[in-house]
């Protein structure tokens, strides 16, 4: 029996605008270390909403979430920020980088925030992550000058920099062409093989099939 790393109990989420809307209904799930979980479902079924809850960014819900035996539910804004910084790597659908910074600096920022290593070590680690994404040649380019696929690879490197317990991705290929999509999926498979815990929201059935477990959401319920 592998160690449980994330547990959600009876999550319920409502939106009040424009009318009260029950998005997530009694969602309970458990994810073990080194598991690769895909969340699929129709558009509007609540996949992103669930991922934001699990990522600790959305705190407005009912139910409880535990990560690493820590009860996340109810922690202060500051404690949650700290927790995210250390334990969660998030990859967005859009390649969200800070445009004024170089690719390398973007990758370094979460580690600098964590402040566990000196700047030289962080730089070396960030360089190593970029190399892993085959982006080392673009390290010193301003991130705004990179193509979409390149930016998403930098964003993945950034999600990995603090060696997070869980990597979460919300349709990371949603905005990429097919060749870049293939490359990003390749990267996630490599990460899986390396033993990372990954939760990924995707539309891609083929890719989902390769993952260890598929969670399908239908109208806010796990099918």
């Amino acid at each position: 029996m592998q160690q449980e790393i994330l547990k959600a109990e009876k999550l319920n989420k409502y939106f009040s605008e424009p009318t009260t809307f029950h998005v997530l209904k009694d969602i309970s799930l458990s994810i073990k270390r080194s598991e690769f979980v895909s969340i699929i479902g129709k558009s509007g079924s609540g996949k992103s909403t669930l991922l934001y809850l699990l990522s600790t960014m959305d705190t407005d819900y009912e139910g409880e979430i535990f990560i690493h035996d820590t009860k996340i539910t109810g922690l202060s804004e500051k404690a949650l920020a700290r927790f995210r910084n250390e334990h969660i790597g998030f990859v967005f659908q859009f390649h969200y980088l800070l445009p004024e910074f170089t690719a390398l600096q973007n990758v370094m920022l979460p580690a600098m925030k964590l402040g566990k290593s000196d700047i030289k070590t962080i730089e070396a680690q960030a360089m190593e992550r970029l190399r892993q994404m085959e982006m080392q040649d673009f390290a010193l380019k301003p991130s705004g000058k990179l193509s979409g696929g390149q930016q998403q690879r930098v964003a993945i490197a950034r999600a990995l920099i603090n060696n997070p317990s869980i990597i979460m991705a919300d349709e990371p290929t949603g905005n990429l062409d097919s060749s870049n999509t293939a490359r990003v999926f390749e990267i996630f498979q490599e990460l899986m093989i390396q033993g990372n815990t990954i939760i990924i929201v995707t539309h891609d059935q083929d890719f989902a099939k390769k993952s260890g477990r598929i969670i399908e959401l239908v109208d806010g319920c796990i099918k």
Partner: protein, 421 residues
């Protein structure tokens, strides 16, 4: 304060240099104007104060005979018969003594007060000079010239001649420079003074002085106390005014009424004598602060606007930072430090610009410098103005930066990140 926050702050500031510089210039201009205004206004105040104090003693004791009706005709009826009503029109004193009774006693008494540093007794009389066939009116002050010098720094105001020579010359006279040119005399010449009683005195011009106040320079002259007492046929105790200087002139207002009650003669303090001037001091001070405050407010709103705009443009970046574990406090630090950086550089530049402008103004020749003893526009260079300038600059930027920074820290990353999906 985390170094990484400072780094983010700096990179973002440098990424929009033009906006940053415009925001800084707002502060720079506000602070520079504050420095210029306060240095200049305070310079004007100080100059006017000096002029005022150069001709006003801290306390002036004199015989205000207008209030004294004891020697008038009413005394004969006053309190004689309470049933009689006596109405007197156009009341005039019958025979008055302009001098202070027991002046030597008052002076001896004043000398005992340690707060009083200078006592200068005076005989003042409006007399006429002979100038050919016409007579020129003047206010003649009989003084102990050394005491008078201590009181008003006459030595610095001498235009020609030596002050001390008055002591060696029995009938010497020192004239205001405009009066001297009206009488067409230079040091060494003789002038004739006419007393109301008809006696005449010839005086030798020792020198001329210039206060820089037309009303004084055209109408005043100094002679020895004893010469004037003689000319007026009075004895050696005859004194009309006593002027006092205090160790601390802010005490004048308190002491004057005490002296008035004690000696029974009118005592004016310099603040009452120059009330209108002190009021205009206050008006200039208020004006300085209102204008500076307005400029700083405008600069503050400039920063507030720019920071709000920056934060609206940077919502996505803030959401990313938060998603990666930057807390609300980090966001406040990032954006507040941007405002403060604008403040520090803007203020520093403002202080320098303010100094340069003040310096330039202080080198501009003052027009009409003949009447005033003023060569250039008066400007004060006081470190404390620069200190206040720095303080105001930093406070303004802090206040202007706080609200946008807090607004930024409250941004919900989920709402932003979801918005694009």
């Amino acid at each position: 304060m985390l170094l990484v926050n400072l780094k983010i702050s700096r990179v973002q500031l440098l990424a929009r240099k033009r906006q940053t510089i415009i925001a800084m210039l707002g502060v720079t201009f506000g602070i520079a104007m504050f420095i210029l205004m306060i240095s200049f206004m305070k310079g004007v105040n100080q100059f006017l104060h000096e002029v005022m104090l150069s001709s006003t003693p801290d306390i002036h004791i004199y015989n205000d005979f207008k209030a004294d009706q004891s020697s008038s005709i009413t005394a004969r009826f006053y309190q004689q018969d309470s049933h009689k009503l006596v109405i007197v029109h156009h009341l005039r004193p019958k025979q008055i003594n302009l001098g202070l009774k027991n002046a030597p006693g008052i002076i001896a008494d004043l000398k005992k007060d340690p707060n009083i540093t200078i006592i200068s007794p005076l005989v003042s009389a409006p007399l006429f000079f002979d100038y050919g066939s016409v007579q020129v009116g003047a206010s003649v002050d009989g003084v102990n010239i050394l005491e008078e010098n201590r009181l008003f720094h006459l030595k610095d105001k001498m235009k020609s001649g030596q002050l001390e020579n008055l002591l060696n010359t029995q009938n010497g006279i020192i004239l205001g420079d405009m009066l001297a040119s009206k009488l067409n005399v230079v040091p060494g010449d003789l002038v004739t003074l006419n007393a109301p009683s008809g006696t005449q005195g010839r005086f030798r011009v020792i020198g001329t002085f210039k206060f820089g106040i037309g009303a004084i320079d055209a109408a005043k002259c100094y002679v020895n106390l004893s010469s004037l007492q003689q000319l007026l046929s009075k004895n050696r105790d005859y004194i009309t005014d006593i002027r006092i200087k205090l160790a601390d002139n802010s005490q004048a207002k308190v002491l004057a009424p005490i002296l008035e009650r004690k000696y029974g003669y009118k005592s004016d303090d310099w603040e009452t004598t120059n009330a209108s001037m002190i009021a205009s001091d206050t008006i200039r001070d208020v004006l300085t602060f209102v204008v500076s405050f307005t400029l700083l407010m405008v600069a503050g709103f400039g920063i507030y606007n720019i920071m709000n705009m920056v934060i609206t443009n940077k919502m996505k970046d803030i959401a990313i930072l938060k998603a990666q574990g930057f807390s609300g406090k980090d966001i406040v630090q990032i954006f507040l430090s941007q405002s403060l950086t604008i403040g520090v550089f803007g203020t520093t530049a403002g202080l320098i610009l303010g100094y340069l402008l003040s310096y330039l103004v202080s080198r501009v020749p003052f027009p009409g410098g003949d009447i005033f003893s003023l060569k250039y526009f008066p400007v004060l260079f006081e470190p404390k103005y620069y200190f206040f300038g720095a303080l105001f600059g930093m406070l303004t930027t802090l206040l202007a930066g706080v609200t946008p920074a807090i607004k930024a820290s409250k941004i919900d990353p989920v709402a932003i990140l979801r918005g694009n999906q």
